[in-house]
Homo-oligomer: 319 residues x 2
């Protein structure tokens, strides 16, 4: 019988579920809202129902071998979500224990969403066969997953790989984490928006973006303006690439990866972001690392990446 | 028969050799100058003679099980020293191959000096039993060795762990590597000297260090002045601790270690440096990491650390 893993991505808005085979085919999808459940227990009960409902039609055709969960502030060692700022669940939430009491699969694991994306890239994407690489997710926030010697770096506490919260400038922009100048405040979707507003205040060049309010401005609009030759929008991508390139150079000086994969909304701007990131990373790299590290777009399909990554946790665990 | 490993530390000035048992006892020491040999072949020939001469009196009493070499720009994968700026040997130097042709030991390995120090800390020092830690060497330069899941992080190319060349300020101080603002330009022995001169230019406070030239000033003098209450010297340690604390916080966001060990001249300043480093690291840490990461002095004896570390490479290799 064909084997498959359940991949679950717990996002701030929606929880997405997919049954995925070893080739990365999604045999079945499902989803439910995350936020409507006020407390953890009712949410988890609904999630268990969703899992049962989704696997029911596959019974006898597919052998489910495990569940992988990707979640913000997910802790691999404890199988818990811990103090996730964007979820309703407060404190430390024992997701894996809850699932283990209700399912008998050999593998039930959880990690944070960026780590899940990294493992997805390793099992199904562009990092197949790579032993040392970094995955950077450039979305509403900036996440990262670091792989060394073919293994995910979880660190002593299970929370390794928060490159979005390395510091660009200790006196820089306010970050949602309570500190200032984190990478995330510059190279996320809201980050490039902030950069546009900084540039609008500093530069005199005309720009189509001068007619848009902070609330109305989106990363997509900046992308389009840059493609249309808007000087401020192009400069915003250059500035973003400079800062990301600098911090990628720092990351290389830590774990010296073969490749760095960029994933998420900002990465979809293509050359607009890759060109400056690669240029500035090379400029900031120590000599011994120059012209060695590939900066590549993720090969995971954007819509399915989270579910593929979460299911990949199971395949990775089974080696 | 008692087993022992040969540890060799190739420094810019001297090459030091020790025969070390599994308890970290140095059974025999020897050394020779590094720089007097103009070319690689004559240096390596002298080194082989030195090894033979040193092990000769132990024959029949001790079984030598391998050779570990620590060297600047040492590459673990290739067993080579590559483009080391402080050595006479130019280009890529195949140290391990040279030794393998002349000795039949099961293990002959090489890595850079900071990695060797990290493995020394793991086998003989304060990192015994730790699976995730970072070693920072604060000497003439700043080196680092990163251990994840109990394994040294060598990276894709064998050159991982150059935290001394992560960038504090891309427009900062000139670095010997050709770039600007590397951590090494602030937190090495020459770095704190530069900081004193920066502070002497900025502050009006009297200081005993105002009578000393740049050439005459040493890190030891700054240490002594700070102990005597000199405001500039104390401020220099605070400034150094701030910058090191910031970059350690970044390092934690990469690999989330259990502990960070500080080693080398600057670390010997004790509380003068540990107090501000810990204070500022905690200040700069993302919430989830706060009050978790120990910052500790290396437990390796300063004089023997290099040889212990190099020999530990062999013990580590044999598991």
């Amino acid at each position: 019988m064909k084997k498959a893993a359940i991949g679950i991505d717990i996002g701030g808005t929606n929880t997405i579920l997919g049954i995925v085979d070893l080739d990365g085919n999604i045999l079945k999808r499902n989803s439910m809202p995350t936020k409507t459940k006020a407390d953890y227990h009712s949410y988890m009960t609904a999630l268990v129902d969703l899992i049962k409902e989704t696997i029911e039609p596959l019974k006898g055709k597919v052998e489910i071998i495990g569940i992988g969960v990707g979640a913000p502030n997910g802790n691999y060692y404890n199988g818990t979500i811990e103090f996730a700022p964007n979820l309703n669940f407060k404190g430390v939430v024992p997701v894996v224990d809850f699932l283990k009491e209700r399912f008998e699969y050999e593998v039930i694991v959880l990690t944070n969403d960026a780590n899940a994306a990294a493992i997805g890239e390793m099992i199904f994407g562009g990092a197949k066969g790579m032993k040392d690489f970094i995955m950077i997710t450039l979305g509403t926030g900036v996440g990262s997953g670091i792989v060394v010697n073919g293994e995910m770096v979880y660190g002593h506490d299970g929370f390794a790989g928060e490159m979005g919260h390395t510091i660009v400038d200790p006196n820089g922009r306010d970050c949602g984490c309570g500190r200032r100048g984190c990478l995330e405040t510059y190279t996320s979707a809201p980050g490039i928006k902030r950069t546009v507003f900084e540039l609008l205040s500093e530069m005199n060049e005309p720009s189509i973006l001068r007619s848009v309010s902070f609330e109305d401005l989106s990363a997509k609009m900046i992308d389009k303006a840059a493609c249309d030759g808007d000087v401020i929008a192009k400069e915003a991508f250059d500035y973003t690439g400079d800062i990301l390139g600098l911090k990628l150079a720092d990351a290389v000086a830590h774990t010296s990866p073969e490749a760095i994969f960029l994933f998420g909304g900002l990465a979809q701007a293509g050359e607009l972001i890759f060109e400056p990131v690669i240029h500035y990373m090379e400029e900031h790299l120590l000599n011994i690392y120059k012209n060695k590290v590939k900066v590549l777009p993720s090969k995971l399909p954007p819509g399915d990446a989270a579910v593929l990554g979460s299911s990949a946790l199971v395949w990775k665990e089974l080696g």
